[in-house]
């Protein structure tokens, strides 16, 4: 019989924490301040919606999870939870989180949350992941939506600012995930998932990681270039982008598992620091020190 911990594991708490953090940043940098109680409620709905996606993903992928060492201990493949229980849990949380966000905050944020859950559970998990090596490139959108949902919860709209935050996570996802998949090639092959290193080979994957890192460096700086973030963010984004390229170049030139792990770890740090700086700048009122290009475009 499943325990409380098994149900919590279905929510993928680590993924959820990144979702909550990026959604919080989207909410805080929005020009419209949100009442703390409403903000907390919105974040809770977003977190539960993300958890629902995780539960639906684990329900659908239970057979694949059983074949991979990293995921074989999850509640369904380990036999502690029936697939139907996970499906019911996921669907209930998905409907509940979207309905409460719509009723208590606004319909746009709820619509974006519903689309994100659908995109992750259906478009990514059921369609893209088993069928194309571009799965995490397109599927990365699911992980990139949270700051946009946070922004929409606060403002009731979608601005260029929130789209830029979306873009940063979207372009960050391929080098981040492919670094992980480079040292899990055999597991993905055994599970029959067409990840990039399985289909195109490790060398091509390293080349694409380098290309995406080179794209990520300028994209990461866009919020500053457009005038929505301050100088501290700009400098952090440039330094972080250069380091991302340096790690990717090192991996491209010397294909060692250790280097792939370093890039994977650094990519998490990169995104965390970048979004933390946005939060800090907003808190100390330094976000107005950005370049004025954005105001010209806007």
């Amino acid at each position: 019989m499943a325990g409380v911990g098994d149900y919590l594991a279905l929510l993928k708490p680590r993924v959820m924490s990144l979702v909550v953090f990026t959604a919080l940043v989207g909410m805080v940098v929005a020009p419209v301040p949100m009442h703390p109680v409403l903000g907390f409620f919105a974040l809770l709905c977003i977190a539960i919606g993300a958890g629902a996606s995780g539960a639906l993903n684990m329900w659908y992928e239970a057979e694949i999870d059983a074949k991979m060492k990293r995921t074989a201990g999850r509640p369904i493949p380990a036999g502690r939870l029936q697939p139907g229980e996970a499906l019911a849990f996921g669907l209930t949380l998905a409907v509940g989180s979207v309905a409460f966000l719509g009723l208590m905050v606004n319909v746009l944020a709820a619509g974006l949350l519903a689309f994100t859950i659908f995109f992750y559970a259906v478009v990514y998990t059921m369609w893209l992941k088993p069928s194309t090596p571009q799965n995490i490139v397109i599927g990365g959108a699911a992980g990139a939506f949270p700051p946009m949902i946070g922004w929409a919860a606060a403002t009731g709209g979608i601005g260029l600012e929130s789209f830029l935050l979306f873009l940063v996570i979207f372009v960050w996802t391929p080098p981040h995930f492919w670094a992980l998949s480079l040292y899990s090639i055999e597991e993905y092959r055994r599970a029959g998932i067409p990840m990039m290193p399985v289909v195109a080979g490790a060398a091509e994957t390293r080349r694409q990681i380098l290309l995406y890192s080179m794209l990520l460096a300028p994209v990461g700086a866009l919020p500053w270039l457009f005038g929505y973030a301050g100088l501290l963010y700009g400098l952090t984004a440039i330094a972080g982008g250069v380091l991302m390229i340096a790690f990717a170049l090192k991996l491209f030139q010397s294909p060692a598992e250790q280097t792939a792990k370093q890039l994977f770890a650094f990519s998490i740090l990169y995104l965390f620091v970048l979004f933390s700086v946005l939060l800090v700048e907003q808190s100390i009122g330094a976000s107005g020190w950005g370049l004025p290009f954005g105001r010209v475009f806007a």
Binding site: M1, A2, G3, V4, Y7, V37, L38, F41, F100, M104
Partner: protein, 58 residues
Amino acid sequence: MSVAMSEQNEPGIVLTAEQKRRRRARSIAIAVSLGVLVLLVYAVTIVKLGPGVLIRPL
């Protein structure tokens, strides 16, 4: 009558002590979640409506 009586006397599914402990933990978790949800909905309602919560047709 006697068949029904014997069915009533059958023990059915007997949970182990560990299963009972897990069921109890789940029940408590559901109760706490529902309680938190009620409090949150109350708090959000007050925040959204403010003093307007008292303005209603009699």
